[in-house]
Symmetry: C2
DNA sequence: GTTGTTGCAAACAGTTTGCACGAAA
DNA sequence: TTTCGTGCAAACTGTTTGCAACAAC
């Protein structure tokens, strides 16, 4: 009997805790994203996973589920549509390479000063933010 | 003869400078977005503009053109798809009300410290960022 | 007059849904 | 054994394209 990787066990528990089942398909979808630097758009993921006999409806449903439970987030590609990437940590933001699309997560973003200022100036109650930083990764700089 | 609003004249010049024509349709599309607090998704804009006999292909083409020349940008709605809003200024960022969708632009965002830190820590050359701040606007707080 | 733009409709791409079967718990 | 999840295909929604007529310059 094969030992499962810790993140797989953890994800299985996460699903079950929510009354959902942890199926081989869900495991396969998660692994695809977890092991990718650039993430995938849904059509791309469908293309890859169909070789494992995973139907497109399952891909849609699973990606949405993973996103809702906070395991996937998305970034924009050049065309403006979404590519999904695995979240390593809570409250992380993506640093995206504009050439190869590689995504590196960072956590140290302090927008509290800006948010306080905006609250005072606009009367809004600030509830959150979405931040993507763009750049060129070391590999693509050559 | 009717005097044109200054922003219309300016937009006309902007198009012509690029060798493009400034048609009544383009003017109408621009005005729709300019006069809206929440902006529109493309299907919404198509719906509104079809009463003015503007075809959907024209809406798509014009919104894309306005976006490319920096007159429109987009924000995300709850479903994660795009709503286009008029840019008042260059380098502005949107502050979006999560209840009513109203968008207020702000400019004072200083991410230079964060960006320098990321450059050192990751080896990326930072080229830009996308920031959306979310909140509840004064009207919706009641 | 020249050439970019428009509206239409058809083609296309992407997403959602209903359902019978299978498999996780 | 009891649901929930799956794959399939059909339906649907959103987007793009080709083209003849038109209008901005």
């Amino acid at each position: 009997m094969k030992t499962k990787e810790p993140d797989i066990v953890d994800l299985g528990n996460h699903f079950r805790r929510l009354g959902m089942r942890f199926t081989p398909q869900r495991e396969a979808v998660w692994k695809l994203f977890r092991d990718s630097q650039r993430g995938y758009s849904i059509p791309e993921a469908i293309e890859v996973l169909k070789d494992q006999n995973i139907g497109m409806a399952t891909v849609y449903r699973t990606v949405m589920a993973l996103q809702e439970i906070g395991r996937l987030s998305w970034v924009h590609d050049q065309n403006g549509d979404h590519r999904y990437v695995a979240c390593k940590s809570m409250h992380g933001h993506p640093l995206v390479c504009e050439k190869c699309g590689r995504v590196q997560e960072f956590v140290s973003c302090d927008l509290s000063v800006l948010e306080r200022l905006l609250a005072v100036e606009t009367g809004f109650t600030i509830t959150g933010h979405r931040l993507e930083v763009l750049g060129i990764c070391p590999v693509c700089q050559v």
